[in-house]
Amino acid sequence: MSDSGLMYFAGSSESCEVTVAIKNQQLLITATTDNASRRIDLFDLDVVPPLPSLPCEVLLNDGSRLEINGNTATATQLYKANKGNRILAWLESNKWACLAATALLPISFYWLSNSVIPTAAMAVANMIPPSVSHNIDEQVMELFDEEILTSSELHVEQQQSIHHNWQQLLSQLSLPQDQFELFIKKSEFYGANAFALPGGTVVVTDDLATLFVDHPDALNAIMLHEIGHVVERHSLRIMTESVGTSLMITYFFGDLEGMAELFSGTALTLLQNKFSRDMEREADQYAIQQLSSIGASPEAFVEAMTRLQESLGEEKSQPLVEYLSTHPQFEERIQRATQ
């Protein structure tokens, strides 16, 4: 039994039609012109792994190439002899396998972005030595200084009392004093706000301190939230997670053109916002737990959130906004604290 094929000669664009057959573990190629005729042992052939609906391609070791219809008996025999990834071609042409893959795709994507990347990011974040994260703090503070953050204009006594509370928090939580540092700064840009840097630097703005001047426990709750970010290495994790997600998005959607690329950029932002919200929740959780361990009421956290919400003038729950923001909404944060 023989099939027809097309033979491409090595190193040139010339080709000719041939007949192919398999006999005694050998591939016989016969052509009208003698220079194309061959007899080759099957194990000397390089059969390109099959793909659905494509012809069977065979590379001969002199550099010429043979093309045979993929549905012929010869092609089947060649694939069998070469064990060329037939499983893949089977998966790709089997209806049920593809249906299963279609169902598995969202699940595996969810698994990748919700489990694999955060876990890997955590592992990387834990590997970063303290000296590196301190270095980040120094560079960031230098960048912020005199641009966004200026020296505090609060009364010296008020500043001292906040620092005193801070020291007390650290010792009550038995955290190393030299790993954490508090700055009180005036900032038009941030308004009433606080933030933590990976190396243990926590910044509280004048406006925030003023907002809670009569309620030090609420300010403690906020500082605990920031300490929570440091202790659980959130900044480092968010940095490594953003590397992971952008690699993932580029990997799977990288060859989209033009605006589809922008579309995948949006997906990236949404995903990063989700990571950020998860971490805010973790820090809230930390603050609420530690409040009771230092003998304060979790009510202080509720008070802090309520006042912040008022000062920011935020409206009540907004369904779509949730996905666009880096923080959970105040209502949710308060609700969690009261549970």
Partner: protein, 361 residues
């Protein structure tokens, strides 16, 4: 070419005639969907490692389903080569990104190094991709030098900024010319005879379109905004909706402008490109059909959460092939694959080190 006999010293032909040859894409969306979905799932489950195999299979599907004059194109890369390039890219880009985050000053130095490395990466990537493409068992190749790449892709674009972008169309022309003129098919070279005129025209056309679109959307937004502000003042979702709509408009904008530029430039470039004594080209991209293709693609992608991807890819390939014309010379001589000799002379080891496409996609 089956019937063509090499004529060693034929008399020089004065008037070469070129005949358009059948150019088809045979890929099917349903069939490619199955390949794609299996590929993506396996890629995720192997944490990205399988994606090298996925890329080879995808490219083979598209190349081998493209048929010119009764012969199919081939994609020759081996998965391990792709994997090697990807590992380098992940280490390089990931390391660079982290360095920028953790040590901005060192990151700045790394950016400069990266800039120096860029032209080499560009050339290596183009060389790899061309060498992995073959037609009738003859490979394509890319001969551009990193120095020329540095001039055309880095120095001149930066310089054009200082001329208020007045030089940009000229720079874009140079980029296209650099790519085409350095591409080889076997022992034959591609040649372009293009001038900056059309590039300046395309630039003017895109500027005109931008202004027109800005005016149109500006008026639209003013009307909607005026009505909307009254009606939805208390609704929190409105601000989010406005963000989404604005982004959608931005995407629309971008697509229109890109489609206009591409349709003008591609057609011009193809008309004026020749493969020495072998082929001439033509392209019939249209602004309206291209813009429609791309907008419907994105709508399909969004509505199906990405599952329409295989369909959009097959559709785009169909559009590209159907709007490309290749005319082949009547008395063509066999084209010789020169890479075979070179690699055997160089030794596979050395050649393989440089045969790498440092890319994530």
């Amino acid at each position: 070419m089956e019937s063509t006999i090499a004529q060693g010293d034929a008399a020089p032909v004065v008037n070469k005639t070129y005949q358009p040859k059948a150019f088809h894409f045979h890929g099917k969306a349903g069939e490619f969907f199955k390949i794609w979905v299996v590929n993506v799932v396996l890629s995720i489950l192997t944490l990205g490692i399988y994606s090298a195999w996925a890329k080879v299979r995808t490219n083979r599907y598209f190349f081998s389903h493209t048929e010119l004059d009764g012969h199919r194109f081939s994609y020759l890369a081996q998965p391990l080569q792709i994997l090697k390039g990807r590992i380098i890219a992940v280490v390089l880009f990931g390391g660079f990104y982290l360095l920028n985050l953790f040590a901005p000053v060192a990151g700045l130095v790394a950016s400069l190094l990266f800039l120096v490395l860029m032209p080499f990466l560009i050339c290596a990537s183009m060389r790899f991709n061309m060498r992995m493409t073959s037609y009738r068992n003859v490979r394509f190749d890319f001969k551009g030098s990193p120095w020329d790449a540095a001039i055309n892709f880095i120095l001149l674009p930066v310089a054009s900024v200082f001329t208020l972008y007045l030089l940009l169309p000229w720079v874009l022309k140079r980029m296209d010319k650099f790519i085409v003129d350095n591409t080889r098919y076997g022992n034959k070279a591609f040649n372009t005879k293009i001038t900056s005129g059309t590039y300046y025209m395309a630039a003017l056309a895109t500027i005109g379109l931008t202004l027109g679109l800005m005016l149109f959307f500006g008026v639209m937004m003013a009307i909607i905004g005026g009505v909307g502000a009254e009606a939805f003042q208390q609704d929190g979702a409105t601000s989010a909706l406005v963000t989404i709509v604005t982004m959608g408009i931005y995407l629309l904008f971008f697509t229109f402008i890109q489609a206009l530029y591409k349709s003008i430039i591609r057609n011009y470039l193809f008309e004026n490109t020749e493969l020495d004594d072998v082929a001439t080209f033509a392209s019939s991209f249209q602004f309206s059909s291209l813009a429609w293709l791309q907008i419907s693609n994105i709508v399909a992608l969004v509505c199906t959460l990405g599952f329409a991807y295989p369909w959009t890819k097959v559709r785009t390939a169909n559009y590209t092939v159907n709007n490309t014309q290749i005319n082949i010379c009547d008395d063509i001589q066999p084209v010789i694959d020169t890479i075979v000799e070179e690699t055997s002379a160089l030794g596979d080891e050395v050649a393989n080190v440089f045969d790498v496409d440092v890319a994530l996609t």
